[in-house]
Every structure is written in structure tokens, then in C-alpha cells.
Symmetry: C2
């Protein structure tokens, strides 16, 4: 019953990095890859053609958001999400577990499902694991995610265990609810920052059997070292022959490290939301374009970058647009950041293919300056 959708092409000798090929109804994609976030059926500020040009092949959309607006029934009537948003490549939809945790004004979790209040209009909604799968099937997603309970940080061991157990019971229900044969469904490993709970979650999620496995509940406020320890362990406990997806990770250094731990898929708002807040990613590190030092800087964001923004515009112009709150600022910044991240992923894939990932990783750090101008969290939370 499981899909035969993933082929391992090559494994790195010095790290656990791997090059793979993921087949989906809307194309085959080499892993490891990064998914630009297109929450509301649009990757903010860009057209589908621009995402393709930047190297994007898979986008992530949010079932939670689309369920609330414009509604899944509407999108189904319009021929599905791909047609609605003019994107004919792969789409992964998040089930809403994380959004229920981070966005809903009110949520009440029971065995049956989640009652929650819409962050848009305060209306009450109820969602079950079965409904979460049905919604994603109606959207026409290529890759669907189980409904999970996303636990905050910190959490007691008892909370983490109960939550993990509930997520497992929901995972079984999601698995049974799936009707489509050509779409993939991924299970999500939870368990907070507790190594043994993560192990149990990984083992039992494997036993249920999914087309791919995600690590959820990271990047929720825990220290970076805890996150990397949990990922290090959990990724080793997932099947070798299935794609492994680290949810919510997307800072350049985290991508490089998680790939070394054997992760295949990523998504994060950092490159896009950061761009809209003036945070630009470069080979040398981050820069904040609002900084007065760029007011008359004729150089591009990144001298070595071949993106549209770097080919045609100076930092001075980008700063002017940003200060003036111009829409073009958000566009040009987003084009650059996505190009940077997707080119980084391409470099990662090529270096694994050529058996030199450890070297690629060393060079990545060599290029970077000691300090970034602005912390990532600052830029993506504002």
C-alpha cells in the first residue's frame, strides 16, 4: 500500500548526507531540497515563474489557512490547488498541526480532534485527523502531512509523552483515512526534547508505515543545541529508504548541518519573511538592508550572486525601496533570498553527487563572516 516514491542515488562517505530522487504526480525532484512557503496559495511576492527560475520545484501550502480562506471546496471546484495558483510542479501541504499551535486564538484538543477559533474572524471550527487528510486530498496535494499535535517548548515529560501518544493515534487514523493511491502521506515524529520519547515516536510511526517521515516540534523556541541533538538522533531512527523531512528549518547553516545528519526535505519562512523585513542572505552571512551604511552602496547584495536582483540593482536602491515601503523591495529581496537558498541546496546536491559534501560544508563556513548583523529570529518574528 505504500508508494515506491523514493530512490537513493548516493550516500556520502564522511557524513550521513544523501542524494535521492522523490517522485510525485507533478514531477520528480532530487533531494535534499528546500520548499518555499506558499501559505495562502502564493509564495509571498513572487510568481510561479520566478520560483521556478530561482530553482524551486516544490512549494509548501497550508491546509489550515486554505481551509479558512478561500475554503477547500472552492479550490476543489476551481480544479485543485495547482490550477488555482498556476503551479504545475509538486505541492506539499501542511496539515495544520503547527498552525493550530501557533495561530489559532483558541484551541481545545480532544481524542476526536481539535476545536479551534479562526485567527481571521473568530469563527469556531472542528478538525479531525480524517478531515485533515480529506482536506489535503481535496486540495490535490502531492504530499500530505498527518495531523499532529505540535508541542510548545518547554514542556514537561508527561505533557510531551501524552502529546506524542495522541499524535501516534491520530497518525493511525490519518493512514486509514487516506483514499488516494498516487499521493504521498507523511507521518510526523514528535516527543519534545526527550530522546526516549522521540525514539518511541519514531519506532511506532515507522510501524504504522508512511511514504515519508517528518520530524516536527523543532524550531519552537528550544536552544539550537537541543534541536540539533534531537535531529541527530531522530533522523538516524527513520527508515533509510524513505524521504526524511525536517519541518520549519531553513537558516543556511541549519540546512547544511541537517543535510549532514541525513535530512532530505526542508521548509521555512526565513528566506521569504526575512526578505520582506529587509534581511538578506549572502555567502558571507546576513545583512540588513535598512542599515544606513548601505545608503550609497553601489554594490549588489552579493557580488557572486547571479539572481535578477543582484544583476540589476545596488544595495543603495534596495535600501531606498525598503525605506520607502515599496512593494518592489519585497519582490527583489525575496527573489534574492530564495535564489540564494535554492542555489545553496543545488550546491549541496552536486557536492553529494561528487562525493565531496564534507568539503562543501567546510567551504560554506569559510565564506561566512564571524558575525551576522542581525539575528534570524529578529527578522522573521517582526
Amino acid at each position: 500500500m505504500l508508494m515506491n516514491n523514493f530512490t537513493l542515488i548516493r550516500r556520502d562517505n564522511l557524513t550521513r548526507a544523501r542524494l535521492g530522487l522523490l517522485d510525485t504526480p507533478h514531477g520528480s525532484v532530487e533531494t535534499p531540497f528546500f520548499m518555499p512557503v506558499g501559505t495562502l496559495a502564493t509564495v509571498k511576492a513572487l510568481t510561479p515563474e520566478e520560483i521556478l527560475e530561482a530553482g524551486g520545484r516544490v512549494i509548501l501550502a497550508n491546509a489550515y489557512h486554505l481551509h479558512l480562506r478561500p475554503g477547500v471546496e472552492l479550490i476543489r471546484k476551481m480544479g485543485g490547488l495547482h490550477r488555482f495558483m498556476h503551479w504545475d510542479r509538486t505541492i506539499l501541504t501542511d496539515s495544520g498541526g503547527f498552525q493550530l499551535y501557533s495561530l489559532a486564538d483558541f484551541r481545545k484538543i480532544s481524542e476526536e480532534g481539535v476545536h479551534f477559533r479562526s485567527h481571521l474572524d473568530g469563527s469556531m471550527h472542528f478538525i479531525t485527523p480524517e478531515m485533515a487528510v480529506e482536506i489535503q486530498e481535496d486540495l490535490g496535494a502531492d504530499i500530505m502531512m498527518c495531523l499532529d499535535e505540535c508541542l510548545g517548548y518547554p514542556a514537561t515529560r508527561k505533557e510531551a509523552e501524552e502529546s506524542m501518544r495522541l499524535t501516534l493515534r491520530w497518525a493511525r487514523r490519518c493512514r486509514r483515512a487516506k483514499k488516494t493511491l498516487d499521493r504521498a502521506l507523511f507521518g510526523i515524529v514528535q516527543g519534545g526534547m526527550h530522546a526516549d520519547l522521540r525514539s518511541q515516536s519514531a519506532e511506532e510511526t515507522r510501524e504504522i508505515g508512511f511514504d515519508g517521515y517528518a520530524v516536527g516540534g523543532v524550531c519552537v523556541g528550544e536552544p539550537k543545541s537541543s534541536m540539533m541533538e534531537i535531529l541527530d538522533q531522530t533522523l538516524q531512527e527513520l527508515p533509510v529508504d524513505r524521504p526524511r523531512y525536517v519541518m520549519g528549518v531553513g537558516a543556511p547553516e541549519d540546512l547544511v548541518e541537517c543535510v549532514a545528519l541525513g535530512a532530505d526535505m526542508f521548509d521555512c519562512v526565513l528566506p521569504t519573511r526575512g526578505a520582506r523585513n529587509g534581511l538578506l542572505l549572502t555567502r558571507k552571512g546576513r545583512l540588513s538592508i535598512k542599515n544606513a551604511r548601505y545608503a550609497s552602496d553601489e554594490s549588489p547584495v552579493d557580488e557572486s550572486c547571479q539572481c535578477y536582483t543582484c544583476k540589476h540593482y545596488s544595495r543603495a536602491y534596495l535600501r531606498h525601496l525598503y525605506q520607502s515601503k515599496e512593494i518592489l523591495a519585497m519582490r527583489l529581496n525575496t527573489v534574492h533570498n530564495l535564489f540564494y537558498i535554492l542555489e545553496l541546496m543545488q550546491g549541496i546536491r552536486e557536492s553529494i553527487r561528487e562525493g565531496r559534501y564534507a568539503e562543501f560544508r567546510r567551504e560554506f563556513y569559510m565564506h561566512r563572516r564571524q558575525e551576522s548583523e542581525e539575528s534570524t529570529m529578529q527578522a522573521i518574528s517582526s
Copy 2:
């Protein structure tokens, strides 16, 4: 001393419409044409490539805005406005007369010039006619406008006359201040809604001698019929062998009428600002994309339109983006509206070339519905 920058190609038999060619340091452009407004060195939401693709060849930037932010000295250092904003076609800069009237928190006009308070930070500034020309020369504009006093509506005859006389004295000073030989300077006819004052202003502005002539002080709140009467008269009093620019006009029906009266150049925020407010221009009239009737409408904005937006997106998707306040909504709407207006101008030029402008104008009205969903003023003032 005046430039030989305008060639009449053809005059219509039944109307006063004319086809011409305007030469500028950044290309020759056929008239009549419409200039997308790029106030702050960006046509809001679009890249230069998208403006070109929509058919735009001349954009309008605002010396007033650029003087305040990021400053003309900075743009000069960065190689001028063309290079700064990555637009290598023609740029016309408005002097700031209209912006001083509509935007400044405070303005005090004397013979010497205008004291005003910046709408951005409340700082005090002083500008003279000579400075207005120098600023525009520093920006590197292809076509510069004299500093004028833009009169509000209504105004007494005495106010209108005094203001018109001041504008004439300033026009003489602008003419003397101009240093560049290859850049054009246009005079602006004022005089409020008083036919005799408009005549005097046109005559004396002609006597000073400019590379082109604009009609200012229209679209400032007067009834449409008064505006058309004044334009009808004033355009006839301007030299046949010079380009005539009607400032601030850009509603489709006004473009068609003003061309029939012999106007050659236009600018207006309507297509771009309207787009950002959900107002879409079509052959059949206007539509407001926020209207619930489009929620599940699979058709494009305009069935007959070949723009990127109409080729790939449904009204339902555009409505969803607009309701969700997505940046892509502003982009796709702006792409469509500019394409529509610039294609209309192309149709106007072709029909004059082929001696069938009166017929084109008849057909234009035949396509339109009786009523628009929303008034133009509503959409561009919100």
C-alpha cells in the same frame, strides 16, 4: 535654443487626434502615449522589464518625492535616475508643483519660491524655480517640467489670475535656469477654469518658448465637463509642432477624448493605484475584484486580454489574493491594468496611423457596459 524633438506623422481627418514621434536621449517614442507613474523611482509593484513588456516606454518620476527621499545628490552619485532604478528608456520628471499642492503639510508661496514642510518627517524645505530645474537635471530626466503653482478647485478669478501670472514668471526663470541642451523642458499652462486666463497663459507660455507644453491644474476636483471644455480650448491654443501633455489624466474614456482634442502625452495613477485597490480595467468597463460575485468565477479579468494575469489566473484567484492582502494581488492587478491602458494607447496610435480614429473611438464605447461597478475616484482615493 529649443529642441527639434517632435515630428508630426499624421493628423486625423475627423478629429484633432495626431500621431507623432518624440525624440529623447533615451529613445524615440510614438505619441500619443501614456506614462506609468513611478513616483519614488519605481512603478509600484512592477519591475522595469514588466513595464516594457506591457508596452511602457516612458515613465514619470517625481522630483518632489525623490528630492525628499532618497535625495537628489545620492541619485546623482549613483549615476542618475535611469541607472539607479534600472530603466534605460525615457523618464519625465514632474517638478513638484502638484505635489506641493496635494502633499506638503504646509506651504507658503512667495515670489522667490515655496517654503514647505515635508510630508515625511515635517522638516522645512525651500524650493525655487531654478532649483526645480537643477534637481531635475541632476536626476538626469529626459523631459523636465517647470515649477508651477497648482491651483485648487474652486478658486476665485483673482486667485486664478494671480496664480497663473506667478506660474508664468516662474516659467521664465525655469527657462533661463536650464543648462542641459539635450534634455527637454516643458512649460505648464494654468488659469483654473477661466477660459480667458487659460488663453493668456497659453499665449504667454508659448512666447517664452518650450520644448513641449503641458496643461496643468486639471483633475483637481472640477466637474468632468469643465475639465473637457478647458482642455478642448487650451489644446487648440498650443503650438501644433510641439508635444502637448495633459497632466494627471488617465481614465480610459478621458484618454480617448483627450486624444480626439489633440493631446499627445498623459500620466495618471489610476491604472496602478486602482489596481492596488482592486479596481480592474476591462474593455467592457471597470470591475472591483473584491466583489463577492467573483469568488468562484473561473474566467480571467478580461477574456480578450493577452496580459500575463489574464493568461494564467482566474478572477476567483485574484479575489482570493486581494482578500488575503497578498503582494501578488497588487502585482497581477497592476500588470493587467497597465497592459490594458498601454494596449489602448497602441490601438489609438494604430487607428490614427490608418486614418480611422473616429471609428476606433466609436468601437471603444460600444464595448463598454452602461455602468461601471465602482467610480474611478473611489478607487484611486482610498
